[in-house]
């Protein structure tokens, strides 16, 4: 049961590579001191999750991550009764575990969850800092170190996928975007050990794809895909092949855009 739950497994033991884009590290620390709930917005693969992981390491808190999806129910977050030989047994969900143990609970891509699911976090995110388990008849008081972090991508926000205002207005926010060319080059070099000149070319190709956002691409090439390409090149693959594989094929099936990106790769690598 909850006694048997080992929160230590969620501790981030090694420093994750994170290249600050601005003063976001200090800002997060300030928010954490107040135990303020935090939301991180930004396009896919720009480093949101990495940032949260890094902050958990820096603050030395365990990090419990929940990847949200459409079929997720409130019970998936809070916990549920299961059956065993003697009858029913309550099992805490990840949110409850984090609240009890003082971890950082990170709800990744929270808009994927349905709005009616998301409301269970409300009591944890205001002055109450508690979590009522109505099925069990228990009120969990949040551990003093507990913090809630959510992330989402405003880019593909359709009418169906948005947070309620009442949820949104419980968080302090960080706006993430793809880093500027210099920072992104440093990230690729730091993350994969690629030569800076090649890294700069990858970033240049990414810039071309990001120009196409909204004109056939719903998202530009993410820093994550750049890192994939850099890794493949580091493993000895020809740069153009690696770029095609990591940065074109996954991105789109639109023939014209593929063609344009392939051309950009050719022309940048010469």
């Amino acid at each position: 049961m909850s006694e048997r739950f080992d929160v230590e497994q969620y501790r981030v033991t090694e420093e994750p590579f994170y290249q600050a884009q601005d003063d976001e590290i200090e800002a997060f620390e300030t928010a954490y001191r107040a135990r303020m709930p935090v939301m991180v917005k930004g396009p896919t693969g720009c480093g949101k999750s990495r940032f949260v992981e890094y902050m958990a390491w820096k603050l030395d808190r365990p990090l419990i991550t929940v990847a949200c999806n459409e079929d997720m129910t409130a019970a998936d977050l809070v916990g549920r009764f299961l059956l065993d030989a003697d009858g029913t047994r309550w099992v805490d969900g990840p949110l409850t575990q984090a609240a009890r143990s003082g971890a950082i609970c990170y709800l990744d891509e929270v808009v994927e969850a349905r709005q009616d699911t998301t409301v269970v976090i409300h009591p944890l995110t205001d002055h109450r800092r508690n979590l009522p388990l109505d099925k069990k008849g228990e009120l969990v008081e949040a551990h003093p170190d507990f913090q809630l972090v959510i992330s989402y991508n405003p880019g593909y926000q359709s009418l169906m996928k948005d947070l309620k205002q009442s949820t949104k207005q419980r968080f302090a926010g960080f706006d993430f975007d793809y880093p500027d060319a210099r920072t992104e080059t440093e990230i690729l070099v730091g993350e994969t050990g690629l030569a800076p000149e090649t890294a700069a070319k990858l970033v240049q190709i990414a810039a071309t794809a990001r120009n196409l956002k909204g004109h056939g691409l719903s998202e530009g090439i993410s820093t994550r895909l750049l890192a994939y390409a850099a890794t493949l090149i580091g493993e000895g693959m020809a740069p153009a092949r690696a770029c095609h594989m990591a940065m074109v094929v996954p991105l789109t099936d639109d023939a014209d855009i593929r063609d344009t990106l392939d051309h950009a790769i050719d022309t940048v690598f010469g």
Binding site: R114, H215, D256
Partner: protein, 753 residues
């Protein structure tokens, strides 16, 4: 060589009574002896000439043959000599004597394009096919009138072959034969390249990379690599290397409408190279006051400035170097003779190449070498301006000037640098000179007179499937959009009142169909939550020693509808009819059905659009919007439904494509196009009803490929004959028209429930 006696023998064998022909025989024979290798070929030549002489069509055919046949045989095959003459004879005996001379006059031009015996034979076969198809005949034979187009076909063929392959020519010709069958004047205009259709089809069949086909791709290129978003405007070219240069102005980038592949560079990359050059100018070029410099100095500055923007562009995108290197013409150093020609252009062309290829241009001219070096030193320092190139240009002209530069005979390159624009943006004229700019000025006022704004939207053009030719007729049908005029909304309300019982019935069904936002699914072995009732029962069973039910969990399911629907209503003349036994016209029944459907769909919350269509020849297909996807079923829409009225014909394919165009932009899981019609497709300018049926079938197939389901509701009792041809299994025939108002909403719910 050939003795006078053998010549006399040849003259002997040339049997011809025309004095004119005998006069030119000797020079033609000399040319033939030079171009033809074997005695058999000379024999064929003489026999061929004699045949044409005896044909009874005057002296002209034989004169043309004597002059052109040997050269034609030289580029194709000597076997053609006899064949060409026989072919001419055959044309003459098939009532098409008028086409003989055009044929013989064109044969050399055609042969030069095709350059092979097989190609020539294929062309001759095509000529016969055109003759057969266009020569009027009675009961399949006894042709008495000549083909109205055959002479024009032969005259135009060399010009068309300059742009098309032989199979392209065949497609072009077959299209003309079929599309204008029975209309000799239109057919003739087509084969003379005078009609719009003719030029459109020609454009479609062209070899090379058409700008029109790649606009989006090049738009992506501009946006992605250069962050620019300017319209691309094609200008017509017959040969992109010799006509107008590309340029850009405030209205867009003017590019040739087609680029052939060249030196291993595909046409699309030639466009990209050109766009990169233009974008380089936009990003890095300033303007130069033209008045301060001589025309020659300006030429040199432009060369340096072009090289500068290319240098900078290649620094950003190194791949451009390969492209420019392959495309830049390379002139030989001795191509121009300074003793008698002005070599300015030649020098600048060498300079331009040397600036692009500083190391291996291979030119020995010291000025070229020096300035290539100076240019690259200056570029390597970085931070260059257009002014630096002005300096280099002036210095280069001073260094390399020659007295011969003023000669009247000027050397021009055979090929221009096709990836460069004409640099008109570079020059600023302070004083009005006698420059060509004046043309622009004179043209100015005329341009500024804006045409009267046309209240209607321009038509959207759609292709039409020609089942006979098995090809699409490009841009064949014009569809005009308009908002349906409005009538009185109360009329529709009254209709709905009349059907109150039915309305209520539909409402009940709708309620059942309506997505319940959360639906509980019980009795699951694995689920989100424990279903306590079932779990307790199961535990009791277990304690009692009975087999427990393992399905003790429950989960939730979200039921949602994500479907966009378009209803396309046939508003042709026939719907005004009142079918036997019905108290109302089809139009009135359609109005009721549409109203009931709209009401039901509104309650369901699915986006629905309604439009009516009718047509009056391919030039006017009217598509009237009655309800948009985002409009509610309110008084405005009801008013439009009330005003629905019968129009003219039913050109269904174009209307389907147009409705599909709107539906394809809907971001829904499912897209449904309902077509309400009372008869088969027809239009006054199409005599073969099968053609429009085939076109509609093609349109349905296209829509299906785009993920749109088409369903036909047909009120024609005899529809079985054709409706399945068009819609496959996806149709409903409403036998009793009176039941339409009930049938339509019911069908919709069946389809989407």
């Amino acid at each position: 060589m050939h003795s006078e006696s053998s010549r006399a023998a040849y003259r002997e064998r040339f049997k011809c009574g025309f004095e004119q022909a005998r006069e030119i025989f000797d020079p033609c024979l000399n040319a033939a002896l030079e171009q033809l290798d074997t005695p058999e070929a000379i024999d064929d030549f003489l026999q061929g000439a004699s045949l044409l002489c005896m044909m009874g069509q005057g002296v002209e055919p034989v004169m043309v043959y004597l002059e052109e046949a040997p050269a034609t045989a030289a580029v194709t095959s000597e076997n053609m000599l006899e064949e060409l003459a026989n072919y001419g004879y055959r044309l003459a005996t098939n009532t098409n004597a008028g086409a003989v001379v055009p044929f013989l006059q064109s044969m050399l031009g055609i042969a030069r394009r095709l350059e092979s015996e097989d190609g020539m034979r294929a062309f001759l076969d095509l000529g016969l096919e055109v003759m057969r198809e266009t020569t009027p005949s009675i009961h399949g034979h006894h042709a008495i009138h000549p083909s109205p187009v055959l002479d024009a076909f032969f005259e135009t063929a060399p010009r068309v072959l300059a742009q098309l392959t032989l199979s392209g020519l065949a497609n072009w010709a077959r299209f003309g034969v079929r599309a204008h069958a029975g209309d000799p004047d239109a057919q003739r205009a087509y084969f003379c390249l005078e009609s719009v259709d003719s030029r459109t089809v020609l454009q479609r069949e062209r070899h090379g990379t058409l700008l029109a086909d790649n606009e989006r791709r090049l738009g992506c290129y501009l946006r992605a690599l250069w962050g620019e978003d300017r319209p691309l405007v094609p200008y017509p070219t017959l040969d992109p290397d010799t006509t107008q240069s590309p340029y850009f102005d405030d209205h867009g980038l003017r590019l040739p409408d087609v680029f052939d592949d060249r030196n291993g560079v595909p046409g699309i990359d030639r466009y990209r190279g050109l766009l990169a050059h233009m974008m380089g100018h936009l990003e890095w070029s300033g303007t130069i006051v033209a008045d301060n410099y001589s025309p020659m100095q300006r030429l040199a500055m432009a060369v340096f400035e072009d090289a500068r923007v290319e240098y900078l562009a290649m620094a950003r995108y190194p791949g451009l170097r390969r492209l420019y290197r392959a495309l830049h013409p390379r002139v030989a150093e001795d191509a121009c003779d300074p003793g008698r020609q002005s070599c300015v252009n030649h020098r600048l062309m060498m300079l331009s190449f040397a600036l692009l290829e500083p190391r291996d241009h291979g030119y020995a001219d010291p000025a070229i070498i020096e300035f290539s070096r100076r240019f690259h030193e200056r570029m390597a320092q970085g931070g260059t301006q257009t002014a630096d190139m002005v300096e280099l240009g002036v210095a280069f002209m001073a260094r390399s000037r020659r007295p011969s530069d003023a000669f009247a005979e000027v050397w021009f390159p055979s090929k221009t640098v096709a990836f460069r624009d004409d640099n008109r943006h570079l020059w600023r004229f302070i004083e009005e000179g006698d420059e060509e700019e004046l043309f622009d000025r004179e043209a100015g006022p005329a341009d500024t007179e804006a045409p009267e704004p046309d209240p209607a939207l321009p038509p959207r053009l759609y292709p039409e499937w020609d089942a006979g030719a098995r090809l699409y007729r490009p841009d064949w049908v014009s569809v005009f959009d308009s908002l349906h005029p409005a009538g009185r909304a109360e009329h529709v309300d009254r209709l709905l009142e009349k059907h109150q019982g039915l309305v209520r019935q539909i409402e009940q069904v709708v309620d059942l169909l309506k997505p319940q936002n959360r639906e509980r699914v019980r009795y699951q072995e694995e689920g989100a939550e424990l279903d306590l009732d079932v779990a307790i029962r199961s535990m009791i069973d277990q304690r009692c020693g009975a087999e427990p039910d393992p399905r003790i969990n429950m989960s939730h399911r979200h039921a949602e509808r994500d479907i966009s629907v378009s209803l396309l209503v046939d508003l042709s003349a026939s719907i005004a009819e009142r079918p036997e036994g019905a108290g109302q016209s089809i139009l009135e029944l359609s109005q009721e059905a549409v109203s009931l459907l709209a009401q039901a769909v509104e309650a369901l919350g699915d986006p629905l659009s309604i439009a009516g269509f009718d047509s009056n020849t391919r030039h006017e297909v009217r598509y009237r919007h009655i309800k948009g996807f985002d409009e509610h079923w309110g008084p405005e829409v009801k008013a439009r439904v009330a005003a629905m009225e019968a129009g003219m014909s039913t050109r269904m394919g174009a209307a389907l494509r147009h409705a599909g165009h709107f539906l394809s932009h809907r971001d829904s899981d499912k897209r449904l196009l309902l077509v309400l019609t009372d008869g088969e497709p027809h239009d006054v300018d199409v005599h073969d009803p099968q053609r429009l049926i085939a076109d509609a079938r093609e349109a349905v197939r296209e829509l299906a490929a785009g993920g749109i389901v088409t369903w036909c509701i047909n009120l024609d009792l005899h529809a079985d004959d054709y409706v399945s041809d068009i819609f496959g299994h996806q149709y409903t025939i409403v036998d009793r028209v009176q039941r339409l108002p009930e049938a339509l909403p019911r069908l919709f719910m069946q389809l989407t429930g």
